[in-house]
Symmetry: none
Subunit: 198 residues, 4 copies
């Protein structure tokens, strides 16, 4: 199993750094190899081609992230709490590894359609996680019974993603985690009952 050999992770981590620092289109295989401390050809002992590095990168990192969140959420009892945990974890994840954030939020989105579709495949796991929380919230009556699940998920993911992307692109970084609580309140309100204060 190639994935368990140290050079597999070594190359993926090198790719994250090279892409974050040089941009997607300037991340040549030779640069990644150099950063990883291996020969160009060694890359191809662990990955089929360049695209395979990028997909594997996304799978490893995002997949890992989804697992962590699933674990954290399991400990929470209400959908509202679970949603807070998801928002906090997501923002924390982004703030912790800015190289990775740049790669997933900005650079990897420049890839061609084929690669983006494979990336979307990985993302689906995350979106299903959100769906589960929304559905649970409806069942427990924390959320409106007439809530459109897909729309709610698009609100939750869209809000987080837009916020994170804006933050990653900013030059001056503020504390992203502080946004978790107000963002969570907005999203829960969005899924809740009353419309205005009238």
């Amino acid at each position: 199993m190639k994935k368990n050999k140290p050079k597999y992770r070594q190359i993926i981590d090198a790719a994250v750094i090279v892409i974050a620092e040089n941009g997607y289109h300037q991340a040549q295989v030779s640069k990644i190899a150099k950063q990883a401390g291996v020969a160009d050809g060694t890359i191809y002992l662990y990955f089929r081609n360049k695209e395979d590095i990028l997909i594997s990168l996304f799978q490893e990192k995002m997949g890992n992230f989804i697992e962590i969140i699933e674990g954290k959420i399991a400990g929470k009892t209400t959908a509202v709490e679970k949603l807070l945990m998801l928002v906090e974890s997501h923002l924390e994840w982004v703030a912790e590894d800015q190289h990775l954030a740049i790669v997933t939020q900005l650079e990897l989105r420049q890839s061609n359609k084929e690669l983006r579709q494979k990336i979307n495949g990985v993302l689906k796991g995350y979106l299903k996680l959100i769906d589960k929380i929304v559905i649970e919230g409806i069942e427990t009556k924390e959320f409106r019974s007439d809530l459109n699940v897909r729309l709610a998920r698009q609100m939750i993911f869209g809000t987080i993603d837009e916020t994170v992307t804006t933050w990653v692109m900013r030059d001056t970084k503020f504390n992203l985690l502080e946004l978790a609580e107000p963002m969570h309140r907005m999203l829960v309100n969005g899924c809740g009952y009353q419309t205005t204060n009238n």
Copy 2:
């Protein structure tokens, strides 16, 4: 003023078609020229370079869209009504011209960081429009007084954008406009007061 000459729009419209049909990375200048019915070199009498075509495309189309929305919103009295108008207009705009939707939602996002930043510059006008509605809503007490304006805008834009992107990528197209009302309710709720039904 080059922008008023017929070939200027001719080339931009050709670019929309070529990018929508071939994808961003297969939209060569020569293809756009052919579609526009001009010689390759002629492109450079109207645009500085390829990037300039794409930015101009976005400016023309998005700028036009913003103007239309501004007009429509002016006729509404409350922030809630204005937000509904914005959501409806946005979804309508996307549903009306699918070529353009593909280009702005999917293809143009594959461009490099530099181009994307310029595109974001154009988008700022739209985001400011949203900000104005949110601020007005707070002032009229339609929205919470402690609402984080930037966060609210990111929710509104993020939700619309994520929804539209998902819709554009789908093979089977449902009626996008039907989502305006429930999406609007979610967003207004998100900006409003009460959290849950407890």
Copy 3:
């Protein structure tokens, strides 16, 4: 028609020189372009790819040679005379342009199977020419009636080809044309009646 433009022939002639002097595997496109006095990219305005250069080269040169021989043969009345003309012309053709001889006899034979098959397609025209002479010789009773046409053609072509290849590979070049007459006598004898002097 690209084939009539001067650069088309210019590139083919450059390819002959570069391949003859550097060998098939050291004949990079950039070298051919430099020899032709054009930019690398210009090659691709006239040829689909590198293989297309080589096929076109063979078609142009060999096709041209076949036409010339056909013309010369038309003036001869007997199959025996026609065969002499063919042998003489072939040897003359090889001796005249040694660069081309190296390319067709040695270098182009190193190409991959796909290219060789296309080259064989061009060669078929030449082999059919030989067949026609053999058949005519049989009909005029210059040759044996029980002569196997394909075998006779293989003897004629094989003998010429083996002789020419040996000559091209030799460092010291003797007068190739002097071999025409004795080679012709051998071939005519081979197609004729008596076996030995017993």
Copy 4:
């Protein structure tokens, strides 16, 4: 002596199979090693480099073939009979081991000039054998006294080689051995006296 160790032949036989089935340019050392059931590095304990495998292959197989023919010829008294034996043996050899025929007739000829010259060195032994028969034929007056020995050898070898190559390339295989007799008659005629039936 490496040549007597079992793995030496094992690797050569593997090379014949791999080249015949994959073609010269797809016959990587690693494939040959796998087919031979040894590690890549082991190849280099028995051969200096890849070229050395191919030369050794040709030497072993062709050398073996020459020895066999020499034995068979020794039992014949006239040059004409010896030539028949040579032609028959050659065609039989090709028809018997089609893998080997593909390798020697088609694939090995794609090698570079340097390797082909070394192969020609091995072939010299066979060509000398032909020369001996021709010279004997002249001395015994079976053949013309003014016969050019080199030319006669080129006819004999060229005819057989061209015939065999054509046969190997054909998809539908006919009985090659049936060509021995008519081919022999043609060649003997070619070396003989009379030109035509006049």
